[in-house]
């Protein structure tokens, strides 16, 4: 069944890219979920769409060869920095930053798309993902992003964990919380741009959050949850890509549905596994 994926170049790159995002999306997703920032992923994916639309428009209207992956990445990173700016402007209403950036992303996308007089099939691929969209160049770029993301998370793991658990305490203890947080949001933007080719704009945040939601039910501790999320993420991507290809369904749909099945199983397992053990007793 896997044979096609190794026979055809474009499928091979798609498959390898899928393996990469199956690691990095849940890896960052773990921090995003525990920090209650899940919606930021959605906002950023829509900004990435604006960047992609801009790239497609530039190509179609002005003959500029601007690979959409790159323009999407640039928009996404700029969007992530703007979200942080807005969050510090609206200190007491930080979540306001999300609908502001999300709607700006959609607004810009609509404008760029209509200037270019539409580009239906391409757009469909970007919205829901595609098995045939990854070029060798895209793959190398995404490989670079993945290596960078994994290195940062490994070397700053304890700082990221400390910041996620208690931001105030992290600052008090002398960590550079603001800078680390900004770096984290920029990494998120990069991972979203990298994932969009395969899972699509509308479903990229699902790949970052659903595996985490499932592993949260089963894991003990943070590190275990992170590793389990990656396992679930990989499983969803592999099964989703294969089934999407053979059923001619955009992989975004199949990957997300498999994540949901995993989530349901995790919830079910937890139920059977006995009621949550409560620790009683004195202080």
């Amino acid at each position: 069944m896997l044979a096609d994926f190794f026979q055809y170049d474009f499928l091979r790159y798609t498959f390898l890219t899928g393996l990469l995002i199956g690691v990095i999306a849940p890896l960052l997703g773990t921090f995003i979920v525990v920090r209650r920032l899940s919606l930021i992923a959605d906002a950023l994916s829509h900004v990435t769409l604006a960047g992609i639309a801009f790239g497609l428009m530039a190509e179609k209207k002005f003959g500029l060869m601007l690979p959409p992956l790159y323009s999407g990445m640039v928009f996404s990173v700029i969007g992530s920095v703007l979200i942080e700016k807005l969050r510090s402007v609206y200190k007491a209403f930080q979540e306001l930053a999300i609908p502001i950036i999300l709607s700006a992303g959609v607004g810009l996308s609509v404008i760029f798309i209509s200037i270019a007089d539409g580009f239906n099939t391409d757009l469909f691929n970007y919205l829901f993902g595609s098995v045939s969209a990854v070029s060798q160049n895209d793959f190398l770029m995404i490989l670079g992003i993945s290596v960078f993301v994994v290195l940062v998370v490994v070397f700053l793991y304890k700082e990221l964990f400390t910041l996620s658990f208690d931001e105030e305490h992290a600052t008090i203890s002398g960590l550079h919380s603001k800078q680390i947080h900004l770096l984290f949001i920029v990494l998120t933007a990069l991972v979203i741009a990298a994932s969009i080719r395969i899972v699509g704009v509308l479903l990229v945040s699902a790949l970052m959050t659903l595996p985490v939601a499932a592993s949260m039910r089963l894991a003990k501790g943070f590190k275990q949850m992170m590793l389990l999320s990656i396992l679930f993420g990989e499983l969803s991507v592999i099964l989703g890509l294969i089934s999407g290809y053979y059923l001619s369904i955009p992989p975004g749909g199949t990957i997300v549905m498999i994540s949901i099945i995993i989530l349901l199983i995790a919830i079910g397992l937890k139920r059977i596994q006995s009621k949550p053990r409560k620790v009683r007793d004195s202080v």
Partner: protein
Amino acid sequence: MTEPVVSMKNISYSYESKKVLDHVNFEVPQGSFMGLVGPNGGGKTTLIKLILGLIKPDEGSIAIFNDSINPRKDRNKIGFVSQKANSFNKGFPATVFEVVSSGLTAKIGYFKFLNKTYKAKILEAIDQVGMLAFAYENIGNLSGGQQQRIFIARALVSDPELIILDEPTVGIDYENVKRFYELLHRLNKEQNKTLLLVTHDTGTMTEYATDIVCLNKELHFHGNPEEYTSLTEKDFSQFYGHPVNLVSHNH
């Protein structure tokens, strides 16, 4: 007497136009167990934020460990247990070990990993607060009082010289408040840690503290527990700006 651990000179602070601290002079002597009391909104948490460097004073100067120049450098000499520790995100999927390890993050430094020595330190801190049996439990499965102990362990693990606690006993039952004070007392006497404790529970505090400070925008009282308990209702109404029922405080 050695140098004070914290020394604040003429500190004023306002949120927007509202003055919260007005020319406060304040010292925490090395080795003391200082109780900081005062009415809600009296500026206790604000004072602590100033010490921790989270906000800057409008006026006056603060020296921590005799150093007013480079606050970040000395931050890992301070352990902090926050007023909000009780209301943290209960569902956070971390074990007790992981939570306590976060108290070492800044001390270990960027790009370095937890080694064996650090791991032993973490277990030791958990043991100190009597929670070793729960080291690998998720923090969310613990009771409020147990969680509070874990936050104390997180403050202890970096071996700070000064420990600041902002109303750590809120929501803890009487029996455990006593145990908690005994733990603080041991840290103060046996390990010579300097403690600064904000509390409304003055009854128990006066049994253990060496110094008591009363703050309501200005510093109204600074003395030892005997002096504090001999204060009259009239003194208190002055501090608090309204009549105070002393029954809950002493005698």
